[in-house]
């Protein structure tokens, strides 16, 4: 399968070159500007000039009309807008970006180890939330995938140096996160998901009472009679890992208990399976497993079942995220809903505001809430 760049007779009829422009290059090599883009229909996109001419005004008037700046009579404004619609013109993003030093593009960089193939569905939800706010305001979402923090930092530096983006959404806040300072240094607005920290160089966006969900989960399990709980956490360097783990241990301590075990993972399915196997083989096996995301919880359920245990009769499982899939599994997954989508929307709004956009400030009430379904049940009587 070769590259399929057909040559076309270029600009056959009445190519309207500016006066004095050379008719064509002698060597027959298409100049870069006409290049591969030229299709048979390759209607050269109209420019502001064409619109100005069509409306019988100057280009400045057109610009002012579409941007609502300057002083333009309503009549002229209409004429301009009509002409623009007629010609199907929209201002060139590149030209506008160059002049205004603003690209209307936001970056989302997803960082994860190379061997984790599928992106966490968590990000799909987040993106949905972001897009819902960005798109209506003409903003685009530039998505990048990187393997580690070094790459991520380098990427921001490049994006900033090239002036490709107006801001960035940071996910997976780390305990000692280099990105806030980096981005501030680069002069790029940003918001950090999940860990509102007033002292940080970039504002955080997230539900309040981050720990509420896990506390509720523990309370729920205690109420069901469970006394031996284990927590399967994410990577230790993530901020929310610490928050949730502490919430877990605190809640247990409040009942005079200690966790049977707390294990950290890298969020991969493989790790979830390995840890679950280990915990379930423990002499004093936990009767309930609390996972720090749904993907791992699903793996955990599968692993338990494969080990001959029934969920929830023999072991209860709680997830975190409330991904759509969890509703349809058997048993349906008990999990913590943290409204990723809504948080994403709020993050977008916050970021847009910092980019100078006039948006109503995000209202993000609520807190993570436990959704009780079928993967949790009474403690096994044998225990």
């Amino acid at each position: 399968m070769k590259a399929r760049i057909e040559g076309h007779p270029e600009d056959v009829a009445g190519a309207s070159q500016g006066p004095g422009a050379p008719a064509a290059r002698p060597d027959g090599v298409p100049s870069a500007r006409q290049g591969a883009r030229a299709g048979s229909e390759g209607a050269a996109r109209p420019t502001i000039k064409a619109v100005a001419a069509a409306a019988g005004v100057s280009t400045a008037a057109v610009s002012q009309a579409v941007n609502g700046t300057g002083r333009i009579s309503e009549a002229t404004r209409r004429r301009v807008l009509d002409a623009a619609a007629e010609l199907g013109w929209s201002p060139s993003a590149s030209a506008s970006a160059l002049r205004r030093a603003r690209t209307r593009t936001i970056a989302l960089v997803v960082r994860r180890p190379t061997d984790v193939l599928g992106a966490d569905p968590h990000f799909s939800e987040l993106i949905t939330g972001l897009e819902g706010e960005l798109a209506p305001r003409g903003y685009g979402l530039l998505l990048h995938l990187v393997a580690d923090m070094a790459q991520e930092s380098a990427l921001y530096e490049r994006l900033a140096a090239e002036g490709r983006i107006d801001g960035a959404v940071l996910t997976d806040a780390r305990a000692d996160d280099p990105r806030p300072h980096l981005l501030r240094g680069l002069g790029l607005p940003a918001v950090l998901l999940g860990a509102p920290d007033p002292a940080a160089p970039v504002p955080g966006v997230g539900l309040g009472q981050q720990d509420a969900g896990v506390r509720e989960a523990v309370a729920h399990l205690l109420e069901l009679g469970h006394r031996r709980l284990a927590y399967i956490a994410g990577p230790a360097e993530l901020v929310h890992t610490g928050l949730r783990r502490t919430a877990f241990e605190d809640a247990l301590a409040g009942a005079g208990l200690r966790a049977v075990a707390v294990r950290h993972t890298d969020f991969t399915e493989r790790a979830a399976v390995a840890v679950t196997e280990e915990l379930l083989a423990l002499p004093d096996r936990p009767t309930a497993l609390v996972f720090s995301n749904d993907s791992m919880a699903v793996c955990g359920i599968g692993t338990a079942q494969r080990g001959g245990l029934r969920v929830p009769e023999d072991v209860s499982v709680v997830g975190y995220d409330n991904l759509p899939l969890g509703r349809w599994l058997h048993p349906r997954l008990t999990t913590v809903d943290q409204q990723v989508q809504r948080v994403g929307a709020a993050a977008a709004r916050a970021l847009l505001a910092r980019c100078g956009e006039d948006v109503p400030p995000p209202v993000l009430d609520g807190r993570p809430r436990l959704v009780v379904r079928e993967s949790t049940g009474c403690v096994p009587s044998a225990s």
Copy 2:
């Protein structure tokens, strides 16, 4: 609990404005160019001019040095590159895009009904594949979400009119797909995933023998003794839906059989559950269900189990896509691997080639293959 967007003391000390810049606008509104971007460190990014000055050459020389065009001595070239590195300069994406009419940005538009919340993990895989080829060449991926085809078309028109992208990756080819013609009319290079059709206005990219996977699945089930199979397809308007459905029915016909049922869905979990329930309630219940994607298959397994059936003892289930999750469920999901990631990479290469980039043409050998795991088993003896 209100939004938690803390304000920060903005730009407190010594905002370093360029000389000659007005100290501040009288009305206190920051001018657009300084806008929100100005941080205390807001080091104005260096321009090509600064690099030229630092290297003691003209801006043209700098441009030629970094682009490898024109005639520049190796010595000067080095000096320029060093100066650029020293200053941390990269050419402005906006300026370059304006001048060259090329943005180094590719669009991926994900279309799905508004009520499907989480994006199909399928797209995560695809994006991973795309990014792997785009990023190393300095290309960015602009991601958009839309609800329906009308919105999608409008979006391409806007993106084209604004000159925001160089090309697009089209997914979910439809039987009567308006996008190829639309994009050709707009002069935008594109590739269509999944249905290589030489006659189409845009080239298709996909594994060969699209039907091989489903055929293999059917053969596998027949070999296990199944005779009553049902197929749960995607939306009828998608090309691959038809291909796979036909493959399914053909393969059965080859064995002198007919499908117990073929049902179309909108790919939502809800639909998958509903259809599964309906099929399993059939008087002559199918002993094997073949789903057209993994997400639905997982829902199908859950539904069967909830209905008191064991998988695979009472009913076998086959998925399609080979998402990572399927390996860890209980039972592990038998599915068709179509190497979404590799196809994504190939699509990126093909598209880059059409954008005038000098990339080795994608090599896409192989075909969809059945991955036999645990969700398929011998036909129940009672049948």
